[in-house]
Amino acid sequence: MSGYSADPRIRWTEWLPWIAAIAFFFLMPGYLSLGARILIFILFALSLDLILGYAGIVTLGHSAFFGLGAYTAGALGAHTGITDPFAQLAAAAALSALLGLATGAVILRTRALTLLMLTLAITAILLEIANKWTGMTGGADGLAGVKVDPILGWFRFDLYGKTAFLYCLVMLFVGWWVVRRIIYSPYGAMLTGIRENATRMHAIGAPVYWRLVLIYTISATMAGVAGALLTQVNQFVGLNVLGLEPSGDVLVMLILGGVGRLYGAFIGPVVYIVVQDTLAKQYPEYWFLGIGILLIFVVLFARGGVLGIIDNVFARNKKTL
């Protein structure tokens, strides 16, 4: 998809998610809060795809940045009087980037299981800090009363989630645009090279470690913005943004959609959150079973996720024709 042989022009199919989102806004006004949540998780999954799908960095701790972003926006809105939404986003992005740089510089010297465990440890440490630092985070009760000004001084967050939906959609569009540019750039091609064969990348003179640290930092920044958006939309942040569970959730979303395919990060969260929302209404205690069965199906029969299934169908039709 990316690389020196790829055509970087935007194909018509790439506009479909945006058309669908705008259609959703007009056709399903009762579900805009759910829609905003989906858009936030798409941005989160997109940030994970950048490192997992393109650079091959396996992580179980991506929620560390999501959670830090969420708590940064929350703490600013609840404690400091900094209530401008973009100032909160900028602070969340900056702190998440710093954490990404600091932790990436350490953990990206390791590989495989060690790397996986270290990423998990980082988010577990942050979870414990958030749990104990009740004065700042609200601890287990969560941090309520997060104040967020109207966007650009005009658009107040409303009960129906209209402003939240459009705000998240614009932020996701910016995130998508940045990620798309990166993956089609020489840097993106180089990341694919690292994922494909790091030994060869070393042999052609690439400073592999530093390149990974940079993309890890960019990904952390995006995840932090996604976390901050969640806080702003809910005007609340709880411990569920940190730890293994949200990291696992976003990983499952990405696997369901298709890893390393850009739009897998769009489809996965839609499938996951819609299935979660539907099943949770019917079977509040067993909804995760449905997700589990879906995941087993994808891992066993559709390794490329939903996008992989779509690709296969198109490939078969082409052969038939």
């Binding site: 990316s2 020196y4 042989s5 089609y184 750039s185 020489p186 840097y187 180089m190 070393h202 042999a203």
Partner: protein, 248 residues
């Protein structure tokens, strides 16, 4: 000044010594072969030269500058290129991208993340002309994994040449290639720019004796003898350790 030089280069893993006091020199334009029985330490030596494996002691010089502690990426920027004994390519990428990635690293384009990769015409054209020179022009869009093995070996060489190396280390370029295709690899090697210093590791003695102007024989991590192909062919010690006692 030598393009590449090692002085008393050693490598050991605990009590196991795999390279022992190797003194080696390669001048610009040299065609030098490194031969020896399996386990002699040839690939270990190449890995130390590249910086993929740290030397236990001794020194490595590139163009007169010591690079013993310099990381692999910096050595490559100073003009060191290699191919691998076992094909080490970006298998799911097209042939063009395999070569372009190397050229992009050399030119500093690989760091850029704004313009699309395919808009860097100098990179893609450079890759295409290299592929054309190696007879791979028609395979530019083919995934490497779908290429015959002999052509994959040529892609290895193309990637290394894309780095415009001053010193090229070829680790068994004809390994696993049918004899009909190894002739093509030899022809390719003979056409390489004359100013590049080349060190070739190879078990195909026909290829070695036709290509190399000097040969070093490595046995159990140490240099046994160095000389011209004729001198090596006459040396009894080489016959003993390399070909077996009955040939001595």
């Amino acid at each position: 000044m030598y393009s590449l030089e090692t002085r008393k280069l050693c490598k050991s893993f605990g009590a196991l010594v795999v390279a022992h006091n190797i003194d080696f020199r390669l001048a610009p334009g040299d065609r030098h072969a490194l031969i020896g029985p399996n386990g002699a330490g040839k690939t270990t030596f190449v890995n130390m030269l590249m910086g993929a494996l740290p030397a236990s002691s001794g020194a490595i010089f590139l163009g007169g500058d010591e690079v013993t502690r310099v990381p692999q990426s910096a050595r490559v920027r100073r003009g060191l290129g290699r191919t691998f004994q076992v094909t080490t390519l970006f298998r799911s990428l097209p042939v063009l991208d395999n070569v372009a990635l190397g050229i992009a690293e050399r030119t500093g384009v690989a760091r850029r993340m704004w313009r699309s990769a395919s808009s860097y015409r100098d990179i893609t054209e450079g890759a295409r002309s290299l592929l054309a020179a190696l007879g791979l022009a028609d395979d530019a869009a083919v995934r490497v994994a779908d290429l015959p093995y002999g052509k994959q070996r040529l892609v290895e060489i193309a990637i290394a040449l894309g780095l415009k190396p001053k010193v090229l280390l070829l680790d068994e370029p004809a390994a696993g290639v049918p004899s009909s295709e190894s002739e093509r690899i030899l022809q390719t090697l003979e056409k390489l720019p004359s100013d590049i210093a080349i060190l070739i590791i190879e078990h195909d003695m026909d290829l070695v004796f036709r290509f190399a102007r000097r040969i070093t024989v490595l046995v159990q991590g140490a240099v046994l003898v160095e000389g011209t192909p004729e001198e090596i062919a006459r040396d009894k010690r080489v016959h003993q350790v390399y070909l077996g006692e009955q040939h001595g």
